[in-house]
């Protein structure tokens, strides 16, 4: 039973991570590339870590829950690193593809 849970969680996590990285390569401009890693990867990691949690709690003596911490850190930091990266992208005046709406919402460097 637990083996199933673990396997499923692992597969979900792995595929999300993969999807994030695919997005990183596939998307046409930087701003779109950013979405993959900041979201998909976060969730992917979360489920991988949950898998690990279940795994170690069952295979080894006592529950192992500290993997939650990693997820916590990722959830705290991922948005901010995304934010700071977009900031620098905007600062570097990276081109977003033409069909991007509301480019004028970007205020110039302030």
């Amino acid at each position: 039973m637990t083996e199933w849970i673990i396997s499923i969680l692992l597969l979900i996590g792995g595929s999300f991570v993969l999807v994030g990285s695919i997005g990183l390569v596939k998307m046409p401009d930087f701003f779109m590339r950013l979405h993959g890693p900041t979201k998909a990867t976060t969730l992917g990691m979360a489920s991988l870590l949950t898998a690990a949690m279940v795994f170690f709690s069952t295979t080894q003596a006592g529950v192992s829950v500290k993997e939650i911490l990693i997820s916590l850190f990722l959830i705290l930091t991922a948005p901010i690193s995304g934010y700071i990266m977009i900031k620098s992208a905007i600062h570097h005046k990276l081109e977003s593809i033409e069909r991007t709406k509301g480019k004028d919402n970007i205020e110039g460097d302030f």
Binding site: I84, H91, D109
Partner: protein
């Protein structure tokens, strides 16, 4: 202890006279003369014993293990020289008192003179050849000081250096020779050496030894071609010349020939080398002397010539020749000393020594003139004077040799020619100075010198006459004793007498005198001929060669030390390649016996990533930011590798260090240009690639060779004792804080010192801040993005928590003080990035210097603590305590030590970044707390 006192007294004299600066000239002179006179009296007291044929010895142990002792020895030869050194020395001191002008420092001259006297006495009385060399070199040093007495004059400086270089060089040769001699004989003791002639001359090194010793002798006694320093030594005050070039310095060389005559002489090599050198010097000196306009110049070259004569005599293969040599040593000393002094008077009274100006001095100083002329006559070898006698013997001996086989008749011929030349320059000295019309533009109006200035000359001239008229009466004892020493206990029948009847030598003398006078009368033709020759100055030659050599050296040095770091690095890498590559080829096979572990997919992938990272770092090294990102891939992969190969502690350390390094490099990047210009030629790039690839291959093969071999190491001990001895289950950490905690102590010292050094480098360094980035964009306005600021402030407590956790578990599980410290530091770095260093320094008012110091101190004192339990430094202690409700906890001194590590790491890291950050922050010079 009398022997020892003789040199010692003159040494003391040197000290005393150097302290007579306050006294009057007479007092100073008196005091200075006191001790040498005493020494002379002591010597006279010893003389009878020596005359009766025994040798007085004294030895004090100095460096027994090197066979170097303080050993003195007084035989006939030594006695003769001691008499000359002291006697003439005293006269010179007396003379100098009147010679020196009031603005010349008398104590200085006296001190140097007596120092020199000491050295000479040491040479002649040494019974240990190393000690002999010791004093030999001392004469070089003290003569350097004497010659450079008037150091304001460039010729004095040059003359001194020239003398020092030539005689010093000779001295080195002599040292080599003496060491060889000592090695051949098995002792440096002179007695033994003199006694083992057969061994020496049979030994394979005899020739080398002989040449080296002769080099020493010839340089010192100004033999051709080493003569050139002597004329330039005339820059010294005349009393000094009178001393150095009549009785002492140059005679030291002659003494050496005499001293080692028993041990080294007797072979054809000796005869050929010595006699030919002597002959050449004799003729050369005599010839050049004729053309010197400077009185002292004339005397200098005549000295060279006479030294040649003596040398030649030592080179003639007859016993009597040696006797004659010794006899002439005495004679030359007396008349040459008096001549120098006379010259000194003339110089002193007229202010010049130029014979073209000096004329008709007879009228102004008849008395001095008489003295000078007598002495000159002795130099010329006129009958009734001592010079004549030795000259006779010399001529006689030249007839009794078969050196040049069928050409041996050449030597007497040359001897006669030399005699003639001697007569000629003596005649010039007399006529040109004292007669020959009126003086021309003298600086001073000449007159007789002060009465007592003449006394020394009077004494010496008297000696010339006495010896010349009643030779046997005056000279026999000392001459016999000296010859006895030189000829090794055998003295041939000889009779120094005025009249040997009509014989060949007498005829030769007659020819010499006649020819000499003729030469002098007809000198103008000779001078014209000489003028037509190209003039070559030894001094110029010497200076030029020194200059050329210096320039050559400077060129070479500039070529080699061209200040190019790349070259230096290249050299290192090449040497490494050579040393590491060489033995690699000697190996039968690189791979070992250990069976290999198969490659699995994630290792392959990790390796791939690592390689890609490394290569692209190199590819993009001109785009610095990019290369930085690439190298951090490498760093990440290295730490992944550490996890893969069961080294969690290393992985953690690598990761934390990685981040701090990146931050540092980012800072560096800001102040350094962001692009690397294209500089190195493609040729060079190819070369560098070649070297680095080869080096890589070599290291790789060594690494492969290592890891494919089985290893039994001391590590099992650590695994076995980690828990029981160190009280921890994380063996790596136990090694770091216990088994090899000493390394860790040193390591945190390094870290602390680095921080101090970095602060030192950066403190109020005027930095230029780029206003735009490499693409010329102005920097963003927003300094501290809001979201970043607020998230980092909530991350700080979490990070501290984690670091505390890592610190605490370190002893039993991966972690420990260092990693914990870096995690803490990084947490603060994040604050620095998010809020800037002012904001931090307002809130974090701690002094990093003290933090570092206390960190190291804690670690150190934990170690010292074990002393109080009678254990050695850093002997750790741990125990388990059972606390109610909480349960068993472990307390270990290692943990305190690790705390020290933690504190040092935090302090050092923050100090580094704080001082860097402070550089750019607000111009208002708010200094970072060091």
């Amino acid at each position: 202890m009398t022997l020892l006192w003789i040199p010692l007294l003159s040494l003391l004299g040197s000290l005393i006279s150097s302290m007579t600066g306050k006294l009057t000239r007479n007092q100073s002179t008196g005091l200075t003369m006191l001790l040498p006179v005493t020494a002379l009296l002591m010597t006279i007291n010893l003389a009878p014993a020596v005359f009766s044929g025994d040798v007085i010895r004294e030895t004090i142990s100095w460096i027994p293990l090197l066979g170097i002792d303080i050993a003195f020895r007084l035989d006939g030869l030594a006695l003769l020289f001691v008499f000359m050194i002291l006697g003439i020395g005293i006269l010179v001191i007396f003379y100098a008192r009147y010679y020196l002008s009031s603005n010349d420092s008398m104590p200085k001259l006296y001190a140097y003179l007596l120092l020199f006297m000491t050295a000479m006495l040491g040479i002649v009385m040494s019974n240990n050849v190393i000690q002999l060399w010791f004093f030999w070199e001392l004469t070089s040093i003290s003569s350097f000081l004497l010659i450079s007495y008037w150091w304001q004059k460039p010729e004095a400086r040059k003359g001194a250096i020239m003398a020092l270089t030539v005689t010093g060089g000779g001295g080195l040769a002599l040292l080599a020779g003496l060491l060889l001699l000592g090695d051949i004989v098995g002792s440096y003791n002179l007695d033994i050496i003199l006694a083992s002639r057969e061994i020496i001359q049979a030994h394979a090194w005899y020739e080398v030894t002989l040449i080296l010793v002769l080099l020493g002798a010839f340089t010192k006694s100004a033999q051709f071609p080493f003569h050139f320093w002597l004329p330039h030594a005339m820059a010294a005050p005349t009393p000094v010349s009178a001393y150095l070039h009549s009785a002492t310095m140059v005679k030291a060389g002659i003494f050496l020939l005499a001293r080692f005559y028993p041990a080294l002489a007797g072979t054809d090599m000796w005869f050929i080398l010595v006699s030919l050198t002597g002959l050449t010097t004799l003729l050369f000196g005599a010839y050049v002397a004729l053309f010197k306009h400077d009185l002292k110049g004339l005397l200098a070259y005549s000295t060279i010539s006479h030294l040649g004569l003596i040398t030649l005599l030592f080179g003639l293969d007859t016993k009597l020749a040696a006797v004659a040599a010794i006899f002439h040593i005495i004679n030359h000393a007396t008349f040459k000393a008096s001549l120098f002094m006379a010259t000194g008077i003339i110089d002193h009274e007229t202010g010049t020594r130029d014979m073209r100006k000096l004329n008709g001095m007879w009228r102004f100083m008849p008395y001095t003139a008489t003295l000078a002329m007598v002495a000159a006559a002795a130099m010329a070898g006129v009958p009734l004077l001592n010079g004549f006698l030795s000259k006779e013997m010399f001529f006689a001996e030249t007839l009794h040799q078969q050196l040049l086989g069928s050409m041996s008749w050449l030597i007497p011929v040359f001897a006669t020619i030399a005699g003639a030349l001697a007569v000629a320059y003596s005649a010039r000295f007399i006529h040109d100075v004292f007669f020959n019309g009126d003086p021309i533009g003298l600086p001073k109006q000449p007159s007789e010198p002060p009465r007592y200035m003449r006394v020394p000359i009077e004494i010496l001239v008297a000696l010339c006459l006495l010896v010349g008229i009643f030779p046997s009466f005056i000279i026999d004892d000392i001459l016999t004793a000296a010859s006895f020493a030189v000829l090794g206990g055998y003295v041939p029948e000889f009779e120094v007498a005025l009249w040997h009847g009509f014989n060949l030598p007498l005829l030769m003398s007659a020819i010499a005198v006649g020819g000499g006078l003729l030469l002098y009368t007809q000198r103008r033709y000779l001078f014209q001929f000489q003028a037509s020759l190209p003039s070559l100055s030894a001094k110029k030659g010497f200076d030029d060669s020194i200059y050329a050599m210096t320039k050559w050296c400077q060129r070479k040095i500039n070529d080699i030390e061209n200040g190019s770091l790349q070259r230096y690095l290249m050299l290192i890498f090449l040497v490494v390649l050579l040393f590491a590559g060489g033995p690699l080829f000697e190996m039968s096979q690189v791979g070992g016996q250990k069976q290999l572990t198969p490659i699995d997919v994630h290792n392959a992938m990790g390796a791939a990533l690592l390689m890609v990272g490394a290569i692209s770092t190199v590819i993009w090294y001109r785009k610095r930011v990019v290369s930085l990102l690439m190298i951090s891939v490498v760093g990440l992969m290295v730490s992944v590798a550490f996890t893969r190969f069961s080294a969690p502690d290393l992985a953690l350390t690598q990761l934390t260090v990685e981040v701090v390094t990146i931050v540092l490099l980012m800072l560096a990047l800001f102040f350094l240009p962001q692009h690397t210009p294209r500089e190195s030629s493609s040729m060079r790039v190819v070369r560098d690639v070649g070297i680095s690839v080869t080096l890589g291959v070599v290291v790789a093969s060594i690494c492969y060779a290592l890891i494919t071999r089985p290893l039994e190491s001391i590590s099992d001990f650590f695994i076995a004792n980690a828990k029981t001895g160190g009280g921890g289950t994380n063996v790596v950490n136990v090694i770091l804080v216990d088994f090899r905690g000493f390394d860790t102590l040193g390591e945190i010292c390094v870290l602390g010192i680095a921080a101090l050094g970095i602060y030192k480098l950066l403190i109020n360094l005027p930095l230029f801040i780029p206003a735009k980035d490499s693409e010329g964009r102005p920097w963003a306005k927003e300094r501290y993005p809001i979201l970043l600021a607020s998230i980092s402030q909530s991350l700080l407590p979490l990070a501290l928590m984690v670091s505390f956790y890592i610190f605490l578990r370190g002893h039993n599980l991966p972690g420990g003080g260092f990693i914990a410290g870096l995690v803490t530091a990084i947490a603060f770095i994040l604050q620095y990035i998010a809020h800037g260093s002012n904001w931090i320094s307002e809130r974090l008012t701690i002094n990093y210097r003290k933090i570092i110091a206390s960190g190291i101190a804690i670690a150190l004192f934990t170690g010292v603590g074990s002393w109080f339990f009678g254990k050695t430094f850093m002997t750790t202690w741990y125990d388990y305590f059972d606390i109610p409700f909480i349960g068993e906890i472990e307390l270990a001194s290692a943990l305190v030590f690790d705390l020290g590590v933690y504190i040092t790491v935090v302090g050092a890291t923050l100090m580094i970044l704080a001082s860097l950050g402070q550089l750019t922050t607000n111009a208002s010079k708010k200094e970072v707390k060091n």
